[in-house]
């Protein structure tokens, strides 16, 4: 029984492997592994919570469930931009924590074959690309693939840096 | 289906016995947690057979057994007991218990005992 179950999970993971939801921030195109994504919603009213880093915009009510939202632009230290009707919230579930990621717009879901995914060039590790663990090539385009878990886990480190 | 009254002060034991009985096509007519309740329930539910724990607060199984036998000479009571209680079981048998089973209860022991007692021809 357990075997069958785990096979199914494998199967599901198989169908999801290599599939990415792409979104854009400024001129760059990013990709996020589809298995993290639970849904995509339009921008909605956000309740501000005081004393948080600026990239955490506050909390939203997702059908009775209260989840935090993070502005990815601000997280990547880019210029803020007013939200409009193209602005989207990608709700992701990472290590059982739900969080909404605010992005300029969502593009599409694509499959990137494994051989087209490469390590990012090792220039200096600026804050910009420490959330990017791979780069995917699609035709002539390049998609920056997000390391979702880093979006949270680096927080304490960064807070420390800020404090110093 | 034959109706059984389960008498035991331990809720766990009642559940254990109930599980076994319901799995084996008995109807659990009721449960009692002590001797006094057992007597009331017996009169009220008129079960075909009773499983009776001996060590209970308020009123022991033996006393309840005596009272039930006084009320109904034909009552079928099976004592549920543990090793080391030989003396009490003997007393229970003297006072009309049809048989006894020993804890920890084994499913087939309980089922076979009850079935056999229920089958017994009353003519003897």
């Amino acid at each position: 029984m357990e075997e069958i179950l785990s096979n199914e999970v494998d199967l599901e993971e198989d169908t999801q492997r290599g599939r990415f939801l792409t979104f854009s921030l400024e001129r760059e195109s990013y990709g996020i592994e589809i298995r993290y994504v639970t849904e995509i919603i339009g921008i909605q009213s956000i309740t501000q919570v005081p004393e948080l880093p600026d990239y955490v915009k506050g909390i939203i009510n997702l059908r009775g469930k209260i989840i935090p939202v993070m502005d990815v632009r601000l997280r990547f230290k880019k210029e803020p931009r007013d939200y409009n009707d193209r602005t989207c919230i990608i709700v992701v579930d990472i290590k059982n924590i739900s969080i909404g990621l605010i992005v300029d717009s969502v593009t599409e879901v694509i499959t990137i074959p494994e051989e087209e995914i490469v390590d990012p060039p090792q220039i200096n590790k600026g804050s910009q690309n420490r959330y990017i663990n791979k780069i995917g090539k699609v035709g002539n385009d390049v998609k920056l693939l997000l390391d979702c878990e880093k979006l949270f886990t680096e927080d304490e480190l960064e807070d420390l840096h800020d404090a110093l | 289906m034959k109706k059984v009254l389960i008498v035991d002060d331990a809720q766990f034991m009642r559940l254990a016995i109930r599980n076994i009985l319901e799995k084996n096509q008995f109807e659990v007519a009721g449960e009692a947690a002590n001797g006094i309740e057992a007597i009331q329930k017996y009169k009220e539910l008129k079960p075909d057979i009773v499983t009776m724990d001996l060590t209970m607060p308020e009123m022991t199984g033996i006393e309840a057994l005596k009272a039930i036998m006084e009320y109904d000479r034909g009552a079928k009571v099976v004592v549920v007991s543990a090793l080391g209680q030989e003396v009490q079981i003997k007393e229970a048998v003297i006072n009309g218990a049809r048989s006894f089973i020993v804890k920890p209860i084994k499913e087939e022991h309980l089922v076979n005992t009850l079935n056999k007692i229920l089958d017994i021809n009353k003519s003897i």
Partner: protein, 686 residues
């Protein structure tokens, strides 16, 4: 678990009931220990509890628990039956408490789905030794008894209800009976046959002859079967039918005897020796008690899984939100709807009744939590050589089940602390002219929507100088010692990194300080306050909310945001007048109300909210109170009062830091989120 009928509910029931019994047992032991003697009732109770646990755990195949329970049962059986003198009660209590601890730990393991791998062998050995010691000391009449047994057994050659056999039966039979393997107590089963045969005939002989007293009879019956000779008027068929009814019958050989030769072996003995009373058991004098009412009332109580109650609570919370969404629906604004209003009022009434009911279902008395402390007091006093009596007041006070879980540990810690640090040694107490034995009072009482739990000792009290010194050493002084009130000084011990004792003691020094206690209390919205007097004692008061889930709240508006203030903290609200506003040289804003001056806190400023209302006269002042401290909150306007369901902020947010002044959040009728203000936090923040 090999038995098929053992399932999850049974395991749950086993855990539930065993835990309950163990707690009951512990209480009984502690009570007896205090009285320095074990009463007959207590002995009976302990025996019965161990008997039950033995049975249940054996069924669940937890053999170590069952074995341990068995050994304690044996011990108490002996105590009950023989009533030995000079029992070392204290040693007995220690032993049984050790057993209780073992079972508790195993139950905990089982609960956590770990394997119950503890071994009780040593403890069982100790218990057996204790029993043996008792038997020796009391010159156990075993020896006499065996002698008696030998004498008696000589007499027991056959069983008969009458000494003189007057009836002459037509037929003679020999029956050999084998019982099924593993049916247990073959001798009693044999006895049952004989007992039933007594209805048919008076002339019965059997091998083995002594089936009750002789312990070997069980083995003989297993090996050779149980052989019965009897005479009867019944036919072979009827007799066969009779024996066939034997329960656990494996094999039956029944032969009709042609002559009585085989009976002669029994008759050679003197029949006059037969004693009818051999098989009679002294009748217990206990009469049927008539306290029927009690057993009936038990019937009307059922036990419910807590997770179901939690779920129910959540649903009620959802319902309260849904109700607000309907009644305060923006679509209704400006409409005159008489019938709707009437129906809405009715709905609100029912909702609030359901809510009260669900709350009350979740309420549990504090008694179990309080009584747990008995054990701690006893153990610690014994180890530290102190004498402390625990006094419990108001144990019937009820609080939400969730809250009980949260205060159990802090309370335990406070009690440990009190005994370890609070009370003097017996000698020191006598030197001070105090009673030899200290008194630790645990008290609970209701106070509005809070419950107060007070831990009070009559020990040495807190030493202010020492606290200040310690705080200075640890760099915890946040202002001049001279400027500090007593209360502020005492509160220093609640700071992280403060510990008054140099060496870590076994009990209170497990790396858990008062700061953790205070934190734990705060997480459930409670507060902790300390009062103390040198040589008189210390009193720690925990103020705990009755429930966590739903509060009465006042919604206020600041810019586009909504905040909720617990109604219980609100004293009054009013539109301020320009002339009452005072600004001190440091630019602190204050307001004068009836001759008193209170600080003002602008929500839009501290939470950086954009609003057009920055002029005091345009907005509203809400005066709030917490722990006798007052604060005036400035907001744009009041929206209205409603019951709100308290939700925690998402974990991700909470992980950043504890946001001072925000207790949680709630959903409004229109689906927006309102932040619930934590008044205590706001007062501290200022």
């Amino acid at each position: 678990m090999s038995e098929e009928y053992i399932n999850e509910p049974m395991l749950e029931m086993f855990l539930f009931e065993s835990t309950q019994l163990i707690e009951q047992l512990e209480q009984s032991i502690l009570d007896s220990d205090k009285e320095k003697c074990y009463t007959k009732t207590a002995i009976n109770e302990i025996f019965r509890i161990m008997h039950t646990i033995k049975g249940s755990s054996a069924m669940m195949m937890f053999s170590e628990i069952s074995g341990l329970a068995h050994s304690i049962e044996d011990l108490f059986y002996y105590i009950r039956e023989e009533n030995p003198q000079n029992i070392d009660c204290s040693a007995l209590s220690d032993l049984i408490l050790e057993g209780i601890d073992f079972i508790k730990i195993e139950l905990e393991k089982i609960k956590n789905k770990d394997s119950a791998d503890g071994k009780a062998t040593t403890l069982i050995g100790t218990i057996k030794e204790f029993l043996y010691g008792l038997q020796q000391a009391n010159n156990y009449k075993n020896i006499d008894k065996t002698k008696q047994k030998v004498e008696e057994s000589k007499k027991q050659y056959y069983i008969s209800q009458d000494k003189v056999i007057t009836t002459v039966y037509k037929n003679a039979f020999k029956a050999t009976i084998y019982f099924e393997d593993g049916c247990e107590m073959e001798n009693i089963r044999a006895y049952t046959i004989i007992h039933n045969l007594n209805d048919i005939t008076k002339e019965i002989y059997h091998i083995p002859e002594d089936i009750i007293e002789d312990e070997e009879s069980v083995d003989i019956i297993k090996r050779d079967g149980f052989i019965v000779y009897l005479k009867s008027d019944l036919s072979y068929e009827k007799m066969f039918e009779f024996f066939k009814q034997t329960i656990f019958l494996k094999e039956l050989e029944l032969t009709q005897l042609e002559n009585e030769d085989e009976f002669k072996q029994f008759l050679s003995e003197e029949p006059s020796e037969i004693q009818k009373k051999d098989y009679q058991i002294p009748k217990e004098q206990g009469k049927i008690k008539t306290n029927v009412t009690q057993s009936i009332s038990q019937q009307s109580i059922i036990s419910v899984n807590v997770s179901k109650l939690d779920k129910l609570m959540d649903l009620v919370g959802e319902m309260v939100i849904a109700e607000a969404m309907v009644i305060q629906n923006p679509d209704l604004r400006g409409l005159e709807l008489d019938n709707f209003q009437k129906a809405a009022v009715q709905l609100s009434k029912i909702t609030s009744e359901i809510q009260d009911m669900v709350m009350s279902v979740r309420m549990v008395p504090l008694s179990a939590t309080f009584h747990k402390m008995n054990r701690i007091v006893r153990d610690m006093c014994k180890k530290l050589g102190k004498e402390v009596e625990l006094k419990i007041i108001g144990e019937e006070t009820e609080v939400d089940k969730n809250i009980i879980e949260h205060i159990s540990d802090p309370l335990m810690h406070l009690v440990r602390n009190a005994i370890d640090h609070g009370f003097e040694s017996v000698k020191n107490r006598e030197l001070k002219g105090k009673s030899k034995s200290g008194t630790l009072t645990l008290e609970a009482k209701n106070s509005g929507s809070d419950v107060l739990i007070i831990v009070k000792d009559d020990g040495k009290g807190l030493n202010k100088e020492q606290i200040l010194k310690k705080a200075r050493e640890n760099d915890l002084l946040y202002k001049n010692a001279e400027d500090m009130s007593d209360r502020e000084i005492y509160n220093l011990i609640l700071l992280p990194g403060f510990s008054t004792k140099e060496k870590v003691s076994e009990f209170s020094g497990r790396g858990v300080g008062m700061d953790v206690v205070s934190k734990n209390i705060e997480t459930i919205g409670g507060t902790l306050s300390i009062e103390s007097a040198l040589d008189k004692g210390t009193m720690i008061t925990l103020k705990i909310p009755l429930t966590l889930a739903i509060i009465d709240g006042m919604n206020i508006k600041v810019g586009n945001s909504t905040y909720t203030i617990p109604t219980i903290s609100i004293r009054e609200s009013f539109r301020p007048k320009e002339k009452d506003i005072i600004i001190d040289p440091d630019n602190n804003e204050m307001i004068m109300v009836r001759g008193q001056c209170y600080p003002i806190l602008r929500i839009h400023e501290i939470y950086k909210v954009d609003t057009k209302v920055t002029n005091f006269t345009e907005g509203i002042i809400i005066m709030v109170e917490q722990d006798d401290k007052l604060l005036c909150i400035f907001a744009d306007e009041l929206i209205g009062q409603q019951q709100v369901v308290v939700k925690a902020l998402p974990e991700y947010i909470r992980n950043f830091k504890k946001i001072k002044g925000i207790a949680g959040c709630t959903l409004l009728g229109d689906g927006r989120i309102s932040l619930i203000l934590d008044i205590g936090g706001l007062i501290d923040k200022r």
